[in-house]
């Protein structure tokens, strides 16, 4: 309860302060932050679905994806910003470009974490699932997904943190309206108040997401860990 209040009250107090004393338009701040957050949310949703699907399919193979790990490891190590020119060429300076770019960084921690969750299960748990008839889609739905749920959450937390970097980086590089460009512009014109307000608003959003979403989910995963 206290956590919930803190997560809601702190941003409200801060926003009031920003609007009243720094004379920064809350609307502008809200719009740019909202744009970046929207891109991140879409990129995360895509990464979550694709990443978990890939990890579950690969982890469900006979040797739990031993050979695929090497492929993923190489792919993951491609410096992600090196992909921006390619994405710009394919998608132009668009939100889609930012989303696709962010997804390429968010998806890896989700894949690796989920795969680890599946591979790290005690062998007898796997045997019990098999022996009691978990096969095909049912094996995924009733065994692999709940089994890897804690790993999906931790992978998501790492992935989203990387996703913020990618979204903001891509916005700065591509000069696309969003919190990244907002901060760059504030810096360019030397407006420290705007820069401070933008950074603080970003931090606060991250804090709120953490308190309202990740923290309760993480706590929930502890409840059913062995």
């Amino acid at each position: 309860m206290l956590r919930l209040m803190l997560a809601v009250v702190a941003p409200a107090v801060f926003l009031g302060f920003v609007a009243l004393y720094l004379h920064v338009s809350l609307l502008t701040l809200g719009v740019v932050l909202g744009k970046s957050f929207f891109r991140l949310a879409i990129a995360y949703a895509v990464s979550l679905v694709l990443g978990v699907a890939i990890a579950v399919l690969v982890g469900n193979t006979k040797n739990a994806g031993e050979s695929w790990i090497a492929v993923f490891d190489v792919a993951q190590n491609i410096p992600s910003f090196a992909l921006i020119p390619l994405f710009v060429l394919l998608m132009g300076y668009s939100s889609t470009m930012v989303i696709v770019f962010a997804a390429t960084s968010i998806i890896w921690p989700i894949i690796f974490s989920t795969l680890n969750g599946i591979r790290g299960a005690h062998p007898s748990l796997n045997e019990a699932a098999t022996l009691f008839g978990a096969s095909g889609w049912k094996r995924i739905r009733y065994y692999l997904l709940p089994l890897s749920y804690p790993a999906i959450i931790t992978g998501s937390i790492v992935g989203v943190a990387m996703g913020w970097e990618s979204v903001i980086g891509a916005e700065i590089i591509g000069s696309l309206s969003g919190i990244g460009l907002f901060l760059t512009n504030a810096s360019t014109v030397g407006n420290k108040t705007l820069l401070f307000a933008g950074l603080a608003a970003l931090l606060l959003l991250v804090f709120t997401i953490n308190r309202l979403i990740w923290s309760p989910l993480l706590k929930h995963t502890y409840e059913y860990s062995d």
């Binding site: 005690h122 007898s124 045997e127 019990a128 022996l131 009691f132 978990a134 049912k138 409840e223």
Partner: protein
């Protein structure tokens, strides 16, 4: 060997696996069978492939050579040394797992799970999650999960090894009561010879490198067995001597 029996016939089983770069011959020419309602115990030095044989019988592993003819088919359940409960499911959900996989409808699942809960002494713990249960209670959940699928063959991999002796004795007693009522066949790996003598109709002694059947003891001691009398002691001694001779 008569493959027409109602039970599981293990015929000339060989099992080899690769560990790193080494080929390990785990089992060699294993042959015996377990008839309906019979309890067969596997004893022997560790590393003699007893648990591997159990997994072959469960269909979790494929033999390198030989055949396992299992007329119990899908009516085969297993109890694990480390319980292997699903930590994200409550006690009753764990028990219902096999039924859920068989598409048994919810009402019927609950009814069967409830019966298993009562039978194995888990009443009042239905909604609890495995992590808040003691080892003995967890293994009871493991037993109930197996009972729920109405097995004709129950495979047990050292089910008492992770439990203290008082807990293990109680579970053994309750397990025997359940067996008396349902009369499913049991193939059990135990490391306490006294447990084998108390439970089994036949005791299969394994030797290792590669795992093979050294000798099969028949155990006709009347049930319920008095483990504090000479016939039981004599059999324990004979089995122990046989295992010692393999080392």
């Amino acid at each position: 060997m008569n493959t027409a029996i109602n039970g599981i016939s293990i015929e000339g089983i060989d099992y080899t696996f690769v560990d790193g770069k080494k080929r390990i011959h785990a089992l060699s020419k294993i042959s015996f069978d377990v008839g309906a309602g019979e309890i067969v115990a596997l004893v022997g030095p560790s590393g003699s492939g007893k648990s591997t044989l159990l997994r072959l019988c469960a269909g979790l592993l494929k033999p390198t050579d030989g055949t396992i003819h299992n007329t119990f088919g899908k009516k085969t359940a297993m109890i694990f040394q480390d319980f292997a409960l699903f930590p994200w499911l409550s006690v009753e959900e764990n028990i219902q797992f096999g039924l859920l996989m068989q598409d048994v409808e919810e009402k019927k699942r609950q009814k069967i799970a409830h019966e298993a809960v009562v039978e194995i002494g888990l009443s009042g713990f239905e909604k609890v999650f495995p992590k808040s249960l003691s080892g003995g209670m967890r293994q009871r959940v493991g037993v109930a999960r197996a009972l729920a699928v109405e097995p004709e063959l129950l495979l047990m991999d050292e089910p008492f090894s992770a439990l203290d002796s008082i807990t293990s004795d109680r579970l053994k007693r309750d397990l025997l009561a359940v067996w008396q009522k349902h009369k499913f066949a049991i193939l059990i790996v135990v490391h306490t010879i006294a447990d084998a003598v108390e439970l089994a109709d036949r005791i299969v002694v394994f030797s290792s490198h590669p795992g093979s059947v050294k000798k099969i003891f028949k155990n006709d001691l009347p049930r319920p067995r008095n483990m504090r009398e000479k016939p039981a002691y004599d059999l324990i001694d004979a089995v122990t001597a046989e295992i010692d001779s393999t080392l």
